[in-house]
């Protein structure tokens, strides 16, 4: 499959579009369908496509196992961290109202960060899982 020039070219054109779309889904989830989870899956799909066409080794060069591990943990830490911050600011866990003077602004900020955390961990886990399965072939 790696020798097929059409596939290679099309993949190289498509991947930036997929990545861009995932960012749109990530940050437009407040207004339309979508959010961190869907964005994370789509983001991972770009890497999976890349792995299918150029091989998993090529993906490992872009994201090494230790980076994936770091990202997997950091998304969850970001989400849980937002909750901890709201707790330290005197609110209940995940009470975004405390994040800014204006409760609405606080909600927006909280939801933005939380969705970002979801997106990061989901993308990292999906890529990890795919690479783990693909790497199992003898």
């Amino acid at each position: 499959m790696r020798d097929n020039p059409v596939l290679r070219v099309v993949t190289k054109i498509t991947i930036p579009i997929i990545l861009l779309f995932s960012l749109y889904v990530q940050f437009h989830g407040d207004y339309g369908p979508g959010g961190g989870f869907q964005a994370g899956v789509i983001f991972a799909a770009a890497f999976i496509l890349y792995a299918l066409v150029f091989g998993t080794q090529a993906v490992r060069i872009v994201v090494s196992p230790s980076i994936l591990r770091l990202l997997t943990a950091s998304g969850l830490l970001l989400f849980a961290g937002v909750g901890t911050v709201t707790m330290l600011l005197g609110g209940h866990y995940l009470d975004y109202d405390t994040l800014a003077q204006n409760p609405l602004l606080g909600q927006h900020l909280g939801i933005f960060l939380v969705e970002l955390g979801v997106g990061i961990t989901v993308a990292a886990v999906m890529i990890t899982v795919f690479l783990a399965f693909a790497g199992r072939r003898d």
Binding site: A73, L77, A80, G83, T84, M87, G91, H92, Y93, D95
Partner: protein, 493 residues
């Protein structure tokens, strides 16, 4: 301020520690973090228990959104009691695993192991504390998925099939619970357990409610290994790493029992559960069958861990019997046995782990002569076994006694035969082990197998000592269980 945040901290702390643990490269550091977090969780649980005993039930709303719009944690005496059991057992097992897990788990996988362990702790604590039916499902899945991982980390390939079998049955159970929660939501419009409890009495005649009740019971029955839905349990306990067997045997099924009784008494209400539905009959029959069949099968096992697994099926039967009596005394017996069984099974599995490390096997035949070579471990096993049988001055006696009292009080005296028969069978299977370790000499005395390291023995004896302590000084455990049972009953009295 901090005190009001305790219910959240109880669950959030291990949850945050899990991703941190993943990033730690060294197994030793991961262990250190885990034990710190688990000890803190234990302190929080004890504080919570004191708080609820003094001031009554605590409600905590996530995101500051009032229930039923937001998610509520509801800690009452019963849940604080279970939280303390889970956090306590987790801490003792972690004390044990500093050395134990380093022998069982590859050093490259240790931080993954402790991450999964913390996640399992998170899930179990979350299931206990939550007051929201859907949130329960989410934390149930956290604890389930992490326990599949922990079981699959066992050295034997059969750990993989045991984990797979558990995954299939566990997911069927979780899906049944999901269906039940959906049906409850459909007819009431709420997911909050307290809100559900207020709205369900008006719907007592609804056929949809009956089906929801049935699905919830079956789903939780799969999780708590209620006979005949226990098929996953013996394999899972046998082939998991020894520390994992100890942790899961002492906590996972207990939490599921607690969730069942919380739904029966705190959500559906005892009048619906026992008057409109034939629950009493079903639970009584299944509980009795669990005691008899679990104990009988245990007698014929050649693997000591599998024997303890079947014994767990029987012990869960006792808890279900107490639950089925639909009386404060029966419920008290169940809650006391929740604690006592956690202490005895935790201690027994850890003692077996010591033998397995020193002798290299958990087959009964390979333990011959262990009494001379490992006197302290063997003695611990004997005391734990006596507690399992229900000999006076051990914790096991107290829970059996309370169950007998409850049975007599409610007039279901045929159950006495079941309880006595279960104890007699326990004498038989514990005796088989005692005979093997004290009265047979080792077939192959190769190598000077000797007593386990003190850092392994200390946690074992901690749990065994607790068995004796709670067998003599019953004031605390029985009082708390009784208060908790009264509170659970009072909801719909």
């Amino acid at each position: 301020m901090t005190l009001t945040q305790l219910p959240a901290l109880q669950v959030i702390l291990p949850l945050i520690a899990a991703p941190v643990c993943l990033l730690l490269r060294s197994g030793r550091l991961a262990w250190l973090l885990s034990i710190l977090v688990s000890t803190t969780a234990l302190i929080i649980a004890v504080l919570l228990l004191r708080l609820v005993l003094e001031n009554g039930t605590i409600s905590y709303t996530y995101g500051g959104w009032a229930a039923p719009w937001g998610i509520e944690y509801r800690v009452d005496i019963a849940s604080a009691f279970v939280l303390a059991i889970v956090a306590g057992i987790s801490t003792v097992v972690l004390l044990f695993s500093r050395v134990g897990a380093s022998w069982e788990i590859k050093s490259s996988e240790q931080s993954l192991f402790y991450t999964a362990y913390l996640l399992c702790l998170t899930g179990l604590l979350g299931m206990t504390a939550t007051g929201d039916a859907f949130n329960l499902f989410v934390f149930l899945e956290i604890s389930s998925l992490s326990s599949y991982v922990l079981i699959a980390m066992g050295p034997d390939r059969r750990g993989l099939t045991a984990a797979y079998q558990y995954l299939i049955m566990g997911t069927i159970g979780a899906t049944f619970i999901l269906i039940a929660v959906g049906l409850l939501y459909m007819i009431t419009g709420t997911l909050n357990m307290t809100d559900l409890a207020n709205r369900l009495p008006a719907l007592a005649q609804s056929r949809t409610l009956r089906v929801a009740f049935a699905f919830l019971t079956v789903g939780l029955g799969l999780k708590l290994a209620l006979f005949p839905l226990h098929l996953w349990l013996p394999n899972a306990y046998t082939y998991a790493p020894h520390v994992v067997s100890a942790f899961l045997a002492a906590t996972a099924t207990k939490v599921a029992v607690y969730v069942l009784l919380r739904f029966m008494y705190g959500v559906f209400g005892s009048s619906f559960a026992f008057d409109s539905m034939p629950l009493q009959f079903i639970l009584m029959v299944l509980g009795a069958l669990a005691v008899l069949s679990g104990s009988t099968v245990a007698v014929f096992q050649h693997n000591i861990k599998r024997m303890l697994g079947y014994s767990s099926v029987a012990q869960i039967g006792y808890m279900i019997l107490g639950l089925s009596l639909a009386s404060v005394s029966g419920l008290t017996a169940t809650l006391v046995h929740l604690l006592n069984h956690a202490l005895m099974k935790g201690g027994l599995f850890l003692a077996v782990a010591c033998m397995a490390y020193q002798l290299g096997s958990t087959r009964l035949a390979d333990l011959a002569g262990a009494g001379q070579r490992m006197p302290w471990t063997s003695a611990a096993f004997v005391v734990g076994g006596l507690s399992l049988i229900g000999i006076p001055l051990t914790a096991g006696f107290i829970s059996k006694w309370m169950l007998v009292v409850a049975v007599l009080e409610t007039g279901w005296w045929p159950l006495l035969i079941v309880i006595v028969a279960g104890s007699l069978l326990a004498v038989v299977y514990i005796w088989r082990v005692i005979e093997m370790i004290y009265f047979r000499s080792a077939a192959t005395a190769d190598g000077p197998a000797q007593e386990a390291h003190w850092s392994l023995l200390a946690p074992v004896w901690l749990l065994i000592a607790a068995n004796i302590y709670f067998g003599i000084d019953t004031q605390w455990s029985v009082d708390v269980a009784q208060l908790a049972a009264q509170l659970l009953f009072g909801v719909h009295a």
